[in-house]
């Protein structure tokens, strides 16, 4: 099948989102660059929700466009996670943007929409070129978003660090990909996957180099440990809603392409890489949690917590050859849980740190007396992140644990449990601030904007419902048709 007679209607959600993003961009031009534009924010949320509905509808006809772009159950779940995530980030941003006059609101929303588009293309791609283009749409949008407070010294410094390290990571990914292309003569992941066992037999050195280079680049994008140094700096300097965006949407989309490349490209030769991934998962969990213990800044703390969570998500990838689809279901369940608990926590962090004017941990002092609802919700999110029972985080971690045990990775499962216990300490330092410390003298009761409390409520509801009734989501995953190409 060539590109001309391909079924282009499979791309409807992406095309509609691109059109709506351009529309938002145009409306921004027509209404002048300065000033508050809440209607554009609402329009952006609407366009993301419309796209989410379209993703859901087009999935009944799973298929592919010329081996380049696939629509299947795997892509659908990831796209829904991404779209809901970006919509929640926009809702968190609305109040934040009104307080920061220097941010041009229309551009901000349209670039967020474009980054959602890039992430969607990324998780749907089955070809190295498409994958790279999607990745770069997401990355370049993220560079802009990180530097959006352009008169703010921390923000621009974070942006330049992100551009330099992100560009280097892209070069690494491409260098690895160039060998994959050269030795198979094709950029399609399906063809590469079929040729892989023979390739590793014939050119084992070149293929190992190629795999390592791609691992370095992708490892940077999902911030796993030897390649994590950018994350705390960028997360601290970026506007707080963008920190939430980077730690949730960009990371989950990164896991999406790692899985695509692993499942389509490298699964036939899993003996070669499975141990590397397991070791990286262990190191990521240990270093992320250990450094998080020493942090006093909320955004840096959440960055290290996000690194540790990426380590938990790597464990099922190490178990992938033995567990198959069950591994995917573990990753996606934990991704949904991670999306909800992290975005909920960041909604609270955005409001509290912006009100205090500093992102120091002490800005949470006495939050329970200033806003009981936010304090209780934040406690649930943190407890879920730490993995205590009756929350989505617990179910996700328990599944990953049992998956690792049944894939004969007992040592990894034990490291995971020990590190979860370590993580209690730093999550509880938030809770201690909120409940056991008196508020500062001039702190008044917090005014919670409607959009932000909506995000908190949705995140709270999903975190608790998935903690009590996980089968709700797990049943969907067991009946899902994961990959259309096989």
């Amino acid at each position: 099948m060539t590109a001309f007679d391909a079924n282009w209607s499979l791309m409807t959600p992406e095309i509609v989102l691109a059109a709506l993003a351009l529309l938002v961009f145009t409306i921004d031009f027509m209404t002048g660059i300065h000033g508050k534009k809440p209607f554009i924010g609402k329009l952006s949320v609407m366009s993301l929700l419309v796209t989410a509905v379209l993703v859901f509808l087009t999935n009944s006809t799973s298929g592919q466009i010329a081996d380049v772009f696939v629509v299947d159950g795997f892509a659908m779940i990831f796209k829904l996670i991404i779209l809901v995530g970006v919509a929640m980030v926009i809702l968190i941003s609305m109040n934040y943007l009104d307080r920061n006059e220097e941010i041009y609101q229309g551009e901000y929303y349209s670039i967020l929409l474009f980054s959602a588009l890039g992430a969607m293309i990324m998780v749907s791609s089955a070809d190295l070129i498409t994958l790279f283009i999607g990745l770069e749409i997401l990355s370049i949008s993220s560079y802009c978003l990180v530097g959006f407070k352009k008169y703010h010294r921390h923000s621009t410094e974070a942006a330049i660090k992100y551009v330099i390290l992100g560009g280097t990571a892209s070069a690494f990914i491409l260098y690895g990909m160039s060998f994959l292309y050269g030795l198979t003569g094709s950029t399609s992941l399906r063809v590469i996957g079929e040729a892989m066992p023979q390739l590793f037999a014939d050119y084992s050195v070149m293929m190992t180099i190629s795999f390592i280079f791609m691992l370095v680049g992708f490892g940077f994008k999902i911030s796993i440990v030897p390649f994590h140094m950018w994350a705390p700096d960028v997360y601290e300097g970026a506007p707080t809603p963008i920190t939430a965006f980077l730690s949730v949407v960009s990371k989950i989309a990164g896991f999406g392409i790692v899985l695509r490349v692993m499942v389509f490209g490298f699964l036939p030769v899993y003996e070669e890489w499975i141990f590397i991934i397991a070791v990286l998962a262990a190191v990521t969990m240990i270093v992320g949690n250990a450094i998080a213990l020493t942090q006093k800044n909320t955004k840096r703390l959440m960055a290290y917590s996000g690194i540790a969570q990426a380590g938990y998500l790597l464990v099922p990838i190490a178990a992938l050859p033995f567990m198959g689809n069950f591994s995917l279901s573990m990753i996606l369940f934990y991704s949904v849980a991670y999306l909800m608990m992290t975005l909920g926590a960041f909604a609270v962090i955005t409001l509290v740190t912006e009100d205090a004017g500093t992102s120091d941990l002490s800005s949470f002092a006495g939050l329970f007396q200033r806003s009981p609802y936010l304090a209780v919700a934040m406690t649930v999110f943190l407890v879920s992140l730490a993995g205590l029972p009756l929350t989505a985080g617990f179910i996700g971690k328990a599944q990953i644990f049992f998956g690792a045990v049944s894939a004969d990775l007992l040592w990894l499962a034990i490291i995971m449990i020990v590190m979860s216990v370590v993580s209690f300490f730093y999550y509880f330092s938030f809770i201690k601030q909120m409940f056991m410390t008196e508020p500062k003298a001039n702190d008044k009761e917090l005014q919670v904007p409607v959009s932000l409390s909506a995000v908190v409520t949705v995140a709270l509801a999903v975190t608790i419902i998935l903690g009590i009734m996980p089968n709700f989501l797990l049943d969907i995953f067991t009946t899902l048709n994961w990959f259309a190409l096989f």
Binding site: L128, I129, F132, I133, E136, S139, I140, Y143, C144, G147, K150, Y151, H152, R153, H154, T156, E157, A158, A159, I160, K161, V163, I164, G167, T168, S170, A171, L174, Y175, M177, S178, F179, Y181, G182, L183, T184, G185, S186, T187, P232, D233, E236, G237
Partner: protein, 102 residues
């Protein structure tokens, strides 16, 4: 006919020079130029494979065009951020930008 290993070695050397530049140079414009060097070494790889590789075909050159385009976009964003940084801090020396650490 020139063997493909020569082209691959050239690309590998350029990639290493670029990486060395990113890691050691203090001038941010040179750091960005080094990233371009790394991306261009990938282009040499792709074009070499596309012309005289074991499975020579056109898609390597298509890939190269995409890489060039994306590299240009990345450089544009990088330089814009560089200018914003210079206006805030009056310096583009890597060493001086250390507000965010540990």
């Amino acid at each position: 006919m020139v063997p493909i290993s020569l082209f691959l070695s050239l690309a590998a050397i350029l990639f290493c020079i670029g990486l060395y530049g990113v890691l050691t140079r203090r001038h941010l414009v040179i750091v960005l130029a080094s990233i371009e060097l790394m991306l261009n070494s990938v282009n040499i790889n792709l074009v070499a494979f596309s012309a005289i590789g074991p499975f020579a075909n056109i898609s390597g050159q298509v890939f190269t065009l995409f890489v060039i385009t994306v590299a240009a976009a990345e450089a544009a964003v990088g330089l814009a951020i560089l200018i914003a940084l210079y206006r805030n801090r009056n310096s583009i020396d890597v060493i001086k930008h250390d507000l965010l650490r540990w």
